[in-house]
């Protein structure tokens, strides 16, 4: 972990990080955008996870749902990563010490890996068995909600 310290220090020293740190309103504004993007990101993923488990939009084929929702999922993810990095850069040294932040980053890496390697091809498939689709949905839900829980915990611990 020590190897990463200079990177955290660099983020902390960026102009954006300093500007957000020194402003009373920037952090809450960026945090609100982060939360709005979370609502859309988790909401669209949830609709696909429900469908994978045979609930929600049962009368629509899964690939159609995935095609309709994936731009929303993608752009809300981009928004979360950008605003998340900005929030992080304003308190990078504090984050370095924070156990929930470390958990969040590990969960985020796993969630992204799962999302792009497994989930996105699973929801495009017409012929996914019951067991595989349920397992995909449960893994997706656990990983993304895990990221969110750890993220919320940063503010508490």
């Amino acid at each position: 972990m020590h190897a990463l310290l200079p990177f955290f220090q660099w983020c902390n020293d960026t102009a954006a990080g300093a500007a957000i740190r020194n402003s009373r309103v920037l952090f809450p504004i960026i945090e609100s955008i982060h939360l709005l993007a979370l609502t859309v990101l988790l909401g669209t993923i949830l609709v696909m996870d429900l469908r994978l488990m045979g609930a929600g939009l049962r009368r629509q084929p899964l690939p159609l749902i995935a095609r309709s929702l994936s731009p929303l999922t993608f752009w809300s993810l981009v928004t979360m990563l950008v605003t998340g990095f900005l929030l992080f850069s304003s308190e990078a040294m504090k984050s370095y010490e924070s156990p929930p932040f470390r958990v969040k980053m590990v969960m985020l890496a796993l969630a992204l890996l799962f999302h792009f390697v497994v989930f996105r091809s699973a929801v495009k498939s017409e012929t996914l068995g019951r067991v595989r689709s349920t397992a995909t949905a449960l893994a997706s839900l656990s990983l993304w909600f895990g990221v969110a829980v750890a993220g919320r915990a940063i503010g508490f611990y």
Binding site: P28, L35, T39, G43, L46, Q60, L64
Partner: protein, 163 residues
């Protein structure tokens, strides 16, 4: 009893004090309140975007709405329950917060928007159910819903700060 003294009384009850001073209960309730955003507003956004003629335009509006609304309503039930518990424990702070007042006003407007839709357009949905672009007032209800709920979320998040 004034509203302010009611808030003081409320948060001084054993439950209010217990939630506020707990190590785990408060974070768990607040965490649940945040996560249920995905189920309540997140799922509602998909319905509202169909209503606005943006998403799944070839799928009947009522089909999308009927299949997803129970999930969204379950999410809102969790939101109101956890929100009430959070208010219970911090009633005085909430009462004094301008952002809490803005949040309540926006909640009321979002409720009125939904009610007006249910009482008017919803009753004629059979005549425009398959429209790729629903009537103007239906699209307006969808867009307004998204804007109002976004405002509720932003105001709720900002309540944590004192300006």
């Amino acid at each position: 009893m004034t509203l302010a003294s009611f808030c003081q009384w409320l948060q001084d009850t054993p439950w209010g004090t217990g939630i506020r001073e707990s190590v785990w209960v408060f974070p768990i309730i607040e965490g649940t309140h945040v996560l249920a955003l995905a189920l309540s507003v997140g799922v509602l956004v998909v319905i509202d975007l169909r209503l606005a003629g943006v998403l799944m335009r070839r799928q009947p509006v009522s089909q999308i709405s009927n299949q997803l609304m129970p999930w969204s309503l379950a999410g809102f039930a969790i939101m109101f329950l956890t929100g009430a518990l959070l208010f219970w424990s911090q009633a005085v702070k909430a009462y004094g917060s301008i952002f809490f007042r803005i949040k309540l006003a926006l909640l009321l407007l979002a409720g009125i928007n939904a009610l007006v839709f249910e009482l008017t357009l919803r009753r004629t949905v059979a005549t425009w159910d398959n429209d790729e672009t629903p009537p103007f007032r239906a699209r307006l209800a969808g867009v307004l819903g998204i804007i109002l709920w976004a405002g509720v979320i932003a105001a709720g998040r900002t309540m944590a700060y004192n300006f």
